[in-house]
């Protein structure tokens, strides 16, 4: 899947904290101009992955490359072309948006001051207040404005909508879509806002317990996973239903009385047709799922994994 031309490559990355393995032999890559969203429940290893990816934490084994440069060894060179919005905005608390812009303008190789100012205007971030005095949402907007003003070739967003209200969340992703369309930036984003990211992500990776359990295009994922509803006849046992469902690779199955509700991982016409022919199964319906529904089905308790 990965090619040497891919600007962002994670190669057999393992991250440990003492005896705890946070990321376990993770590998994936993001082609140029693609938006890759990395999903996972809390503690799945997303932020540890990001931390290694931007050269802030050393991997126990494996590594990350951006533009072919090892991000641990060549962090300074890599970060000249990368924008990062961290999970928690970490700019100096005493620095105002204006001071921050001045500082970043001096140290970044590219700095679009006009874009920075316009974005701050648009989202209403005060210029003179120290960043420590801004609201959580304003700080996040400030971080995003700073990351985008550097016109990065790769943008890494670690849960950028965390703590933002619904309106701001929607605005943020909409603006992001506009920016990305203009620039062709490669984006890696981790988020819990699956509805917001669904419209802009090209590819989805799902992490569980430090491992990448799914890595597919958004369309592929949505085509593969469907909701199946049906009714079983009085003579049909639950075992018979489950045996028939097994061919559809269910990730979540609920049997309530005669009604069967399942999320299946194999929804091609032939497989579904064969299921419909099962004796005692009637009223079979197959429906598409949202990204959030797929994620819940895959990462819910005791379910998922591939």
């Amino acid at each position: 899947m990965s090619t040497t031309a891919d600007p962002l490559v994670i190669d057999h990355l393992t991250v440990r904290y003492g005896r705890v393995t946070a990321v376990d032999d993770l590998s994936f890559s993001v082609p140029r101009g693609e938006v890759y969203t990395l999903l996972g429940r809390n503690g799945a290893g997303k932020s540890s992955t990001i931390s290694c990816l931007v050269g802030q934490r050393k991997a126990a084994s494996g590594g990350c490359r951006i533009f072919g440069i090892d991000t641990w060894r060549g962090r300074r060179h890599v970060m000249a072309r990368v924008g990062l919005v961290p999970e928690t905005p970490d700019m100096p608390p005493g620095a105002s948006a204006r001071e921050l812009g001045r500082f970043l303008g001096r140290i970044r190789p590219v700095w679009n001051a006009e874009d920075y100012e316009k974005r701050l205007d648009r989202v209403g971030v005060p210029r003179r207040l120290p960043s420590g005095s801004l609201s959580k949402g304003q700080r996040r907007q400030l971080a995003l404005a700073a990351a985008l003003a550097a016109e990065p070739e790769v943008l890494i967003l670690d849960d950028p909508t965390l703590g933002l209200d619904a309106v701001v969340r929607r605005t943020l992703f909409e603006e992001l879509v506009g920016e990305l369309a203009d620039r062709g930036t490669t984006v890696l984003v981790t988020t819990h806002d699956l509805t917001g990211i669904e419209g802009i992500a090209d590819r989805v990776g799902i992490m569980q317990h430090g491992k990448l359990v799914y890595d597919e295009t958004m369309d592929g994922l949505k085509a593969r996973f469907r909701r199946l509803r049906c009714v079983r006849g009085a003579a049909t046992t639950t075992d018979e239903v489950e045996r028939a469902l097994a061919a559809l690779e269910p990730t979540e199955t609920r049997l309530v009385g005669a009604r069967v509700d399942a999320v299946i991982g194999r929804a091609d016409h032939a497989a579904v047709a064969r299921f419909k022919e099962t004796v005692g199964i009637t009223e079979v319906e197959v429906e598409p799922l949202s990204l959030e529904e797929i994620f819940v089905a895959l990462c819910g308790d005791g379910q998922g994994g591939a």
Binding site: Q56, R57, K58, R75, R76, A80, T88, A95, E99, R106
Partner: protein, 647 residues
């Protein structure tokens, strides 16, 4: 550089509140003179005093706060990621932040000083005039010291802050490494401190301190570059770098210390002090290349060149090597701790003399010690107690306390069973004149007996006990005019009256009992030779010189004198030494040796019984102006160089 400067400015801006605090603190010296309790002291002095107090307190306090927080706090609160997300190298981040802190402290100092300096009657003296620590230390030195100390506090607080926040198992490594470095430092430098070679010790401490600071700076840089946001990794990299630098430096200092202490007699470039006795062995210490004030000390056989290292000399520890009168044994003290001076000895009659412990350890405030003529015993005067020990096997033979308000001054064995002690007291109602007492310690009866007391004032070093003539105690009576008499050692009564000696500078009793008195008469000098009962035989005029001192009796009627004079004008004048060989019979100066002077009788030369014997090796030892030690043969006028040892 652009990024570095931007970061420095950003960090200073972030902490500009400190400058405001300094500005507020700078007003305190101005307000101090308004306090009612300041009395009539000049306002400028009060302002200055308060300014130094503020300067001594505020920057170190800020340094502590900044040191703990400038990296560690950002790290603990997850804000270091901001810097790593920028195209800044780790060293730019570390040195940029550190530079900002250092500049801030410097600025705080300037702000605190500024109002007081501007209002001072003579502002210029704050930067040039000597006042603060002592009259030789310029005022700018104090802020410099505060600043350097503050930077050290910053680095130390940073390291402690990171270690504390990480709380990783590396703390055990830190503790072990700290104890190892302290232990290595102690092993390396304690042989020099505090009194053996303070210059070496302080230099070593300075090197270790500088290495510690360098280690903290390098450790911080490596921590920021390689630890990044991982607090435990930060701790590990900081510790590894710090202890590597300090460990390497400790090993180097340890090696340096071993090298300094491994000097041989061949390394001595010029001798410092000598101890001489009746035999061929002398005690000598001296300066050697690269060893600063560490003075290796040896016993040296001047006949065959054998030598024995007997520990370093301690500058103020006078008369530290003594020889028995028969020349078979040397006894000396070594420094082991402030109040611990083990007494060592060596048998000189064997082919390979080795140091051995006498079993006696002296305290720092002991007064004197003496070796018995046969070398079998030592007597020690400590406080008011005389103790006598047998050396081999070690055993204390007796100890006697001299009761009363006495100050023991000198002691000497008359023979192996008798020790004589000279003491003084100042009885009330005698106008402050010293009162003198002679005691005998009889080992056979184990008794301390006072044999004589007399109240004439003794002056000018004539109070010492003359080893060769135990019945005589020279004194000079300055009751109106200088009146020279020789007292009996046993009873303190006048044994010989030599009449008036207005410019008396020294007295020597010759082997045949004649008495030579050295007269110092401005530019010309003379020796008055008396019969043993005090009749003047003749006066011998000496070559012109500014100073004269009595040397040694090198042969029948042959006497060496030391003469020295100044050549040139102050401050470029140089001292000129000369040895004169005087024939006491003819009164002629038979020979002079320019550029050299006899060591006996010279400052820094300590003589044991027998050294003054006619023809003794000690009497023929000659020193040059640059402290080269040679053995002079008066017959042939040849010099055999001893120190430095010819390779």
């Amino acid at each position: 550089m652009r990024a570095f400067i931007a970061l420095v400015l950003r960090e200073i801006n972030e902490r500009k509140a400190l400058l405001a605090a300094a500005a507020v603190a700078s007003v305190l010296p101005l307000l101090a003179p308004l306090l009612p309790s300041t009395g009539s002291n000049p306002a400028a002095d009060i302002r200055e005093a308060v300014m130094w107090v503020v300067l001594g307190g505020l920057p170190p306090l800020f340094a502590l706060l900044l040191g703990v927080g400038f990296i560690g706090r950002d790290l603990a609160e997850g804000r270091m990621g901001f810097y790593y997300a920028q195209p800044l190298s780790g060293s730019t981040i570390w040195f940029g932040k550190l530079t900002a802190v250092v500049v801030l402290i410097w600025a705080v100092e300037l702000i605190v000083m500024l109002p007081t300096v501007l209002l001072a009657p003579d502002p210029g003296r704050f930067f040039a005039a000597p006042e603060v620590f002592d009259r030789f230390t310029p005022n700018w030195f104090a802020p410099l010291v505060f600043w350097i100390a503050s930077v050290a506090v910053v680095l130390l607080a940073h390291a402690v802050g990171v270690v504390w926040r990480a709380r990783s198992a590396w703390l055990v490594v830190d503790l072990f490494a700290f104890l190892t470095v302290v232990g290595a430092g102690w092993i390396a430098l304690s042989p020099f401190l505090p009194i053996v070679a303070p210059e070496v010790g302080v230099t070593g401490l300075g090197i270790l301190t500088a290495a510690g600071l360098a280690g903290l700076i390098a450790g911080g840089a490596v921590q920021v570059s390689q630890g990044r946001v991982d607090l435990r990794r930060c701790h590990r990299t900081l510790s590894t770098t710090l202890w590597t630098v300090l460990g390497a430096c400790s090993i180097a200092v340890l090696g340096w210390s071993v090298w300094i202490r491994s000097g041989t007699i061949e390394d001595i470039r010029s001798f410092n002090r000598l101890a001489v006795g009746s035999g061929n062995w002398i005690g000598v210490d001296g300066v050697s290349d690269g060893r600063m004030d560490y003075l290796p000390r040896f016993l040296l056989n001047v006949n065959d060149g054998r030598s024995l290292f007997i520990g370093p000399a301690v500058d103020w520890n006078w008369n530290e090597v003594q020889f028995s009168a028969d020349g078979t044994r040397a006894v000396w003290t070594e420094f082991s701790a402030i109040d611990q001076w083990p007494m060592m000895y060596a048998d000189l009659g064997v082919s390979d003399p080795q140091p051995a412990f006498t079993g006696v350890v002296l305290g720092a405030d002991r007064d004197e010690f003496s070796v018995s003529p046969d070398g079998s015993r030592i007597a020690v005067l400590e406080h008011n107690t005389v103790a006598v020990y047998q050396i081999d096997p070690p055993e204390q033979l007796m100890a006697a306390h001299i009761e009363g308000e006495f100050t023991p001054i000198d002691l000497r064995f008359d023979d192996a069973n008798s020790v004589r002690v000279l003491a003084s007291s100042t009885p009330e109602g005698r106008g402050g004149d010293l009162h003198w007492h002679l005691f005998f310690v009889e080992l056979e009866t184990r008794q301390l007996i006072e044999s004589a007391e007399f109240d004439s004032p003794l002056r000018w070093g004539s109070r010492s006990l003359d080893g060769r003539f135990p019945d005589r105690l020279a004194r000079i009576d300055v009751d109106g005019e200088e009146h020279l008499v020789i007292l009996g050692n046993g009873n303190g009564e006048v044994a010989v009256d030599l009449g008036r000696a207005p410019r008396w500078s020294g007295l020597r009793t010759m082997a045949d009992g004649r008495i030579a008195v050295f007269q110092d008469r401005d530019d010309d000098h003379c020796i008055d030779v008396f019969t043993p009962d005090g009749s003047l035989i003749h006066r011998i005029e000496l070559p012109a010189a500014e100073e004269i001192y009595d040397g040694a009796e090198v042969g029948p009627d042959q006497f060496l004198v030391g003469l020295w004079s100044w050549e040139g004008e102050f401050p470029n004048r140089t001292r000129h030494l000369m040895t004169g060989l005087i024939n006491l019979k003819t009164g002629k100066t038979e020979r002079t040796l320019s550029g050299h002077a006899p060591v006996l009788g010279y400052w820094g030369v300590w003589s044991s019984p027998g050294s003054w014997e006619v023809g003794s090796v000690a009497g023929r030892l000659i020193q040059s102006e640059d402290r080269v030690l040679s053995l002079w043969d008066p017959e042939t006028n040849e010099l055999e160089q001893l120190i430095p040892v010819l390779q």
